[in-house]
Symmetry: C2
Subunit: 345 residues, 2 copies
């Protein structure tokens, strides 16, 4: 058994001695923070790099080699599947996902036809197979959660206030739910294909769902998140559910059917565990800003997170959000070593 899967299942180290370390990986561990990434990245949209299996395989493996992390995560993006079905979306360097024609009305549902993974994104399965063969660590697949993906489609670009997507959600709830059904169908197809190709775990990134209060999350998002997670339950791989600013949503996100909840750095793991009643494992939750600092401070903060977890076997060490372009890869490597040395499970 791998430490990642042991922790995801909340199995104490004593019951799986071969996997008795605290697993650690980093959201966005592949990418701009790594010089070796910038070397193979090239110009233009990353969607073309994602669709190039040789480069995508190499990029997926780079952080595994450099850091000794306990998981690879597929080099892709949450908008890849909607790009692949031809919604009309691009990832603009320095900005993020942008749509020339954002989602506005029922007619736009047609631009979200069902995903046929073998035809629409054959490169995904190929990259996963390459990584699983070469990597020696479990691979995490992922998809975008309903609110987050809808926010890009409706806003047409990254937003701070989510005004347009919330206007659709509150103002046209039927259309909202239809949109989420399409997004969910695509997410389910994506995740199932990833697991079929060899992913050992999946993560639903509803990164921006924390923009909603619990009652709105319950009404507008939870049913869809629940369907996605339940429709991959039979695959037998652990499912992580992640968002930032989700302190108040953690019990709901667990209820959706997750095995692991991603916790941002704002909520101590001990608080998150209390709120979720111990029924899920936790992933997190170092403040990503620390990755641009010094080892002295980092050391203290890694130990703070480990102490806050208190040796609970259900802990996957990670940042509370993604690695940043300015993050220091040297520090991240030291984090992995320290967690492996001092973490208890």
């Amino acid at each position: 058994m791998f430490p990642l899967l042991r922790a995801a299942r909340q199995i104490p180290g004593s019951e799986a001695p071969e996997a008795a370390t605290v697993p650690v990986w980093f959201m966005r561990q592949a990418g701009r923070s790594l010089p070796e990434y910038r070397e193979v990245r090239g110009e233009g949209t990353i969607l073309h790099v994602i669709a190039d299996t040789d480069r995508a395989t190499e990029i997926t493996l780079q952080p595994v080699r450099r850091y000794g992390v306990d998981a690879a995560i597929l080099y892709s993006d949450i908008v890849t599947p909607v790009w692949a079905v031809g919604f009309g979306i691009d990832i603009v360097p320095g900005v993020g996902p942008m749509c020339e024609h954002p989602f506005e009305s029922a007619a736009d549902l047609e631009r979200l036809r069902p995903l046929e993974p073998d035809i629409d994104l054959p490169y995904q399965a190929e990259t996963i197979k390459n990584v699983v063969t070469d990597g020696g660590v479990p691979l995490i697949g992922f998809a975008g959660g309903p609110f987050t993906l809808a926010s890009y489609l409706v806003e047409g670009r990254p937003s701070r206030t989510y005004t347009k997507v919330k206007a659709l959600m509150f103002g046209q709830p039927d259309l909202w739910h239809q949109l989420c059904e399409r997004i969910s169908d695509i997410a389910i197809a994506t995740l199932r294909a990833q697991v079929a190709a060899g992913a050992s775990m999946v993560q639903l990134f509803d990164s921006w769902a924390g923009a909603l209060r619990p009652e709105h999350y319950t009404e507008f998002v939870l049913p869809h998140a629940t369907r996605i997670l339940h429709e991959v339950a039979d695959l037998g791989v652990p499912r992580t559910h992640f968002g930032i600013n989700t302190g108040e949503l953690l019990p709901l996100m667990a209820d959706a059917g997750a095995d692991v909840i991603g916790v941002d750095w704002r909520t101590p793991l001990s608080v998150a565990r209390q709120r979720t009643g111990g029924r899920v494992a936790l992933q997190g939750n170092l403040d990503p800003a620390l990755t641009t600092g010094t080892w002295d401070v980092m050391q203290r903060e890694v130990r703070r997170v480990l102490a806050d977890n208190g040796g609970n076997p259900g802990h996957i060490f990670n940042l509370g959000h993604g690695v940043m372009p300015e993050s220091d890869p040297g520090l991240l490597k030291q984090v992995v070593e320290l967690v492996h040395e001092e973490g208890t499970c």
Copy 2:
């Protein structure tokens, strides 16, 4: 007694029948959402409008007239005092506060000399006096909280990740605390001058403090917020402490010495009340995104917030964050009427 001050003191309506309505005002109620504001606003930086007492008085009063809110809030900005002492900061339309030379080292402390309100911002007292004379409602003064103001000074512009300000905070804690002391001195001088001029209540806007986990907030910000709030305690006006994404910080923000805690829309008031043990009044917390929508939805959501408060006398109705440029003034007026009609205290 005014309803605002009754609620801030958690006095039941039955004990102050003349003030037995739920008070309501809106953060950023004066500003871009109002056509009458755009008429008097003119071009260039708003700092010059703030320093023009005629226009600042008019703008402060516009929402009072239009909405019938229970408070005026001084038309100003949290960076006005540091601009006034010559730090070198501007508010760029469409962007926000920007510094050509951000705060970098101990030498920059000199750019934050003590504020002499009578000399540095005489227009502030004059505007307040005008409003208090003309307005018929209590006026709220305010200052920027330590983390939020430091973030503008150190980042040099609005940030999503607060990487630079956190790097300073974690990496140079002595310099961080010196910076916060300067900021706090300026905040204290600002607030004292506002109350001397006639403000009936003050609010400390540490809007971005929720970017910190509780342990970091406790170590790096709480001592300064506490000093600010305590050094205005003798003035006898209620003190509100506000930030977004502060679900985990609410008890600490109350401990700092606040009478009222501003709660963003993510945390239900009932949860916030539980976390703060009922020792403070609460301000909030409608999702600002609703202000661009329909009255049908708004009505339901206003009632949801009122129901969530459950008739507790310590409730000042507000949005969970500021009015947006796209907000519909007609809707906001209806919110005020509904809260006044149906709110119980």
